[in-house]
């Protein structure tokens, strides 16, 4: 069973990554110590993970990756991270009524974490039911997944950096890899540093608000926990009420950081180097900012005119300017780039407002950001390609390259983008049908909005959907088959479908 792939090399390198994943568990361990909670869960987890890593590493001590091995490695790395991530859930839940003690649920929660989706099957989210440490682990998985676990590995592990460009290409969101420096490891480090910097500033601001008395619930624990899930466009919160649990001041602070998370991080690197004009002139950034502004404005008007019933969380928006604007900006800032926080139960809003949110979910973040979805740059190129196609239909002799930011987009890249977009829509539609039928099988009738949003929220790494899947709802009631499909969707959605499917196709077709 060769598949034309040297799988041993991919798996061997995987061992290296897994080994280091054990180190990240020091964070929840520290939380456990601080809160005087059971430290054994994480001590055992760490030992287990380290042992798995060291064993797997032995498959190939000196891995050398070609293009196919790189695809396999990246695909497996995310699957392995999700599997490893289940260990604390299973250990902590063992013998309790916790929903994540179920292996499929644990995998769902872990995959949702690493892929920064934010969909949850955790029955009751509160520190009364789960330890602070476990909830912090749940937050941490999103932070690790945000900028990309492979990018992190390239940044710190020299043995991975050798094949870095190929690996990053497969993992980085967006159609092409942007090298900022000649050495890929330095590029990866720069991206992680910017990411890290934003996270630190954000946590400091949140905690500062708390110290100033403007955010009573935003203690240090919550500040760090939300710091871990905003920049990666994650969406997990240790509070059952998500960001609705916090004051209006906190909500206003969260909005710009969610917006930042959907921007190409390479642009911030240019800004830091004093080339701010590169950011302002970037076509994708402009469309992103424009889309945010327009959709927010439309939603604010809808809310102002009474699209939301006066509900406990989020409050009345009809005729209340500040609240309708804040609710609109927050929900769009959260859903357009796939974060998935909420300050209001938009599952109870009118259909017109919900459809608008669903439209925003289709847009996605920017290439090179931590956001999911189709990505704005792809929509721009799809639109330009369609326009060209229409024009050349009338003028068959015209040669017209597609341009982005003043430079020509390669025809191969355009083909790749069209294929990706079609594949995304196809997978989304087929999965929606499967989820609807499978859920009907177990006796639950989903609405159209529920079944389509289940598919869209997972493949787009968004998190919340509509109806039962709303921001304060839960994915727990699905059958195991549907949950596993969603795990698959989150996985391929994060890796932008192609690497994972390419591995499958080469397995089927390759010799």
């Amino acid at each position: 069973m060769s598949w034309g792939v040297n799988w041993k090399a991919s798996v061997g390198l995987l061992g290296v990554g897994i080994k280091y994943l054990a180190v990240t568990m020091l964070v929840p361990l520290a939380v456990a110590v601080a809160y005087g909670e059971d430290v054994w869960v994480f001590l055992v987890s760490m030992a287990l993970v380290a042992a798995i890593g060291l064993t797997v590493e032995r498959v190939d001590r000196d891995p050398d990756l070609g293009p196919r091995e790189a695809l396999l490695f990246v695909s497996l790395a995310w699957l392995a991270a999700a599997l490893i991530g289940t260990i604390p859930y299973l250990l902590a839940g063992y013998g309790t009524a916790s929903t994540v003690a179920e292996p499929v649920n644990a995998l769902f929660e872990s995959m949702s974490g690493f892929t920064t989706t934010g969909a949850t099957v955790l029955g009751e989210i509160s520190t009364d039911r789960h330890s602070h440490a476990l909830l912090m682990w749940r937050q941490l998985t999103q932070w690790l997944g945000g900028m990309g676990i492979i990018v992190l590995m390239i940044a710190i592990l020299p043995e991975v950096a050798v094949n870095g460009a190929q690996l990053m290409e497969s993992e980085a969101p967006g159609p092409e890899l942007q090298k900022l420096t000649p050495r890929i490891a330095e590029t990866a480090r720069a991206l992680w540093l910017i990411y890290f910097g934003f996270t630190v500033v954000y946590i400091a601001i949140l905690y500062g608000l708390h110290l100033l008395g403007m955010a009573p619930n935003m203690g240090l624990y919550n500040a760090v926990a939300h710091g871990f899930t905003t920049l990666p466009t994650g969406g997990f919160s240790p509070e059952a009420d998500s960001i609705a649990a916090f004051s209006a001041a906190v909500q206003w602070v969260v909005i710009p950081f969610m917006v930042v998370a959907g921007v190409n991080f390479a642009l911030f690197w240019h800004v830091l180097r004093g080339e701010a004009e590169l950011m302002l002139e970037n076509a994708e950034f402009r469309v992103y900012a424009g889309a945010l502004a327009v959709v927010t404005a439309v939603l604010a008007v809808l809310l102002f005119r009474g699209a939301a019933p006066p509900i406990e969380l989020g409050g009345a928006t009809e005729g209340v300017t500040e609240n309708s604007l804040r609710q609109a900006a927050f929900q769009i800032g959260s859903l357009l780039n796939s974060t998935g926080y909420a300050t209001a139960d938009f599952a109870q809003w009118n259909t017109d407002a919900q459809i608008l949110l669903m439209f925003a979910m289709f847009i996605g973040g920017s290439a090179g950001s931590t956001g999911g979805g189709v990505k704005i740059v792809r929509w721009i190129i799809v639109a330009k390609t369609i326009r060209r196609e229409l024009f050349t239909t009338a003028h068959p002799d015209v040669v017209q390259p597609v341009r982005l930011n003043g430079s020509v987009v390669d025809e191969d890249a355009i083909r790749g983008i069209m294929v990706f977009t079609l594949l995304y829509l196809l997978l989304f539609a087929l999965s929606a049908v499967f989820i609807a039928l499978d859920t009907a099988r177990i006796g639950i009738q989903l609405s159209v909005l529920e079944s389509t949003s289940a598919s869209l929220a997972t493949i787009g790494n968004i998190g919340p959907g509509f109806g039962r899947l709303g921001p304060f709802g839960n994915y727990e009631f699905f059958s195991n088959a549907s949950k596993l499909l969603m795990v698959f969707l989150m996985w391929v959605g994060r890796l932008e479908i192609v690497p994972v499917l390419a591995v499958f196709i080469s397995a089927i077709d390759g010799r």
């Binding site: 003028h395 002799d397 015209v398 040669v399 017209q400 390259p401």
Partner: protein
């Protein structure tokens, strides 16, 4: 002057012919037959051999030459010739090149390749075409500072919208300066409140784009505007450069190229040009794309025969103006007799440019206006000259001569002159001056 010309093709021969009467000319050519033939045609010394070698150059007395003109058909030969000449002596070197890449390199670092002045044939031809297309209303147009600056003279017709306006009303353009106004043969130095009357002739200096815009104001009827259809046939270097220069002037030309790969390259390099991939001699295609409704057609194909065919086709379809690039100088008159509006020969254009340059004193470029009443000069300011370190307002105050500074170029970029602009050594200053004071002003630089 002792002038050595390397390359006795059409360009070299033409230059030699115009210089032979006043100067001591030596022509070098690799082809012994050609050298032999030229000896009888012109009153020059000819040497057969490779002009890039020290041996031949020594034989041609390059070490004592005042000027070396390298004008073979091969860019690299010309560059090496200049480079070799610089090792032997201190003559002024002129190289003819086709590639605009070499020109860019040279512009970025004057003196590169040992070349003191570079003439880019294709670019020069394209500039010529664009001038003919863009400024049919101008009486006189001259490029300065390697094409960065243009001087143009317009006669203000009675129906012109500019007639009756003051200078400050008419001069709406950032990088344009009104330098002179001729009324009944008398030169007036224009002030902001000077009225422009019908029948006046206005001289402006500025960027080619601003001159184009001004032409549009002066003669909106005859000057093509953005909406005018310009079709370029043939994606040769000349065709490409023409399209590029038209884009700079905010036109959106159409360019027809037959080769798929070349068409793709052109489309990538020309964002505001509509590139079509088709054979331009296909009449069905021309009528399908409504080329007959074009205002101007430029033919820049690689063969004269094809250019002739397309030009005739375009003319028969009813195109207003047809401009043809003609590679062989002998055909120029044939083209024009058939009814093609303008035929441009790249070699003639190049030879004229080099000859013009040799006529004028080396650091200056001159245009003479209105029966020698005034001249436009391009001066390169030297370290410590009267102009350097002074603002324009100070100079006008101090120097008791009628002159107007129209444009300044600094490091190959245009600087719009204002009263408080301070001149620096190395600047190229383009100014209009009374003919009587030309030598006085020139000596101050």
């Amino acid at each position: 002057m002792h002038v050595v010309i390397v390359g006795a093709g059409e360009v070299g021969t033409s230059i030699a012919a115009s210089l032979a009467s006043d100067h001591e000319v030596v022509v070098v050519d690799v082809d012994p037959d050609r050298a032999e033939q030229l000896k009888y045609e012109l009153d020059v010394l000819t040497i057969a051999g490779d002009g890039t070698t020290t041996g031949i150059q020594t034989a041609a007395n390059v070490d004592e030459a005042d000027m070396i003109i390298a004008c073979t058909d091969d860019d690299r030969t010309n560059l090496v010739t200049c480079g070799t000449a610089k090792t032997l002596g201190d003559g002024f070197t002129i190289a003819r090149v086709k590639s605009t890449e070499y020109l860019r390199t040279w512009e970025g670092n004057e003196g590169a390749f040992g070349v003191d002045f570079m003439v880019c044939t294709d670019l020069l031809t394209a500039q010529n075409i664009v001038r003919v297309i863009g400024l049919p209303a101008a009486i006189d147009v001259d490029p300065f500072a390697s094409g960065l600056v243009q001087m143009a003279e317009f006669e203000i017709a009675a129906e012109s919208p500019v007639a009756g306006q003051t200078v400050s009303e008419a001069d709406r353009f950032e990088s344009l300066t009104f330098v002179g106004l001729f009324r009944d043969g008398e030169m007036i130095i224009p002030r902001g409140d000077t009225d422009i009357g019908a029948g006046d002739r206005a001289v402006v200096i500025g960027s080619p784009e601003s001159v184009q815009s001004f032409a549009n104001d002066v003669a909106p009827e005859t000057t093509p505007d953005r909406a005018d259809e310009i079709v370029i046939v043939g994606g040769s270097e000349i065709g490409y450069q023409t399209a590029r220069l038209l884009e700079e002037r905010e036109f959106t030309p159409r360019l027809i190229e037959r080769d798929a790969d070349r068409a793709r390259t052109l489309a990538e390099d020309l964002p505001n040009t509509i590139v079509m991939e088709h054979d331009a001699t296909d009449t069905e295609f021309l009528s399908r794309e409504h080329v007959d409704e074009a205002d101007i057609v430029v033919t820049a194909l690689r063969s004269d025969e094809k250019n002739l065919l397309v030009s005739v086709l375009a003319k028969r379809m009813g195109v207003d103006r047809v401009i043809a690039v003609v590679d062989s100088p002998d055909y120029v008159t044939v083209f024009e007799e058939i009814g093609i509006d303008i035929a441009i020969n790249p070699r003639t254009v190049t030879a004229e440019e080099i000859t013009r340059f040799t006529y004028e004193s080396i650091a200056e470029n001159i245009a003479v206006l209105e029966n020698d009443q005034a001249e436009v000069l391009e001066l390169e300011l030297t370290e410590g000259c009267r102009f350097a370190g002074r603002s324009i307002a100070e100079l006008v105050e101090e120097i008791d001569v009628r002159f107007v500074i129209g444009a300044i170029t600094r490091n190959h970029a245009l600087v719009t002159p204002r009263g408080d602009t301070v001149l620096e050594p190395g600047d190229h200053v383009i100014l209009l001056v009374d003919s009587d004071s030309v030598s006085e002003i020139a000596s101050m630089a």
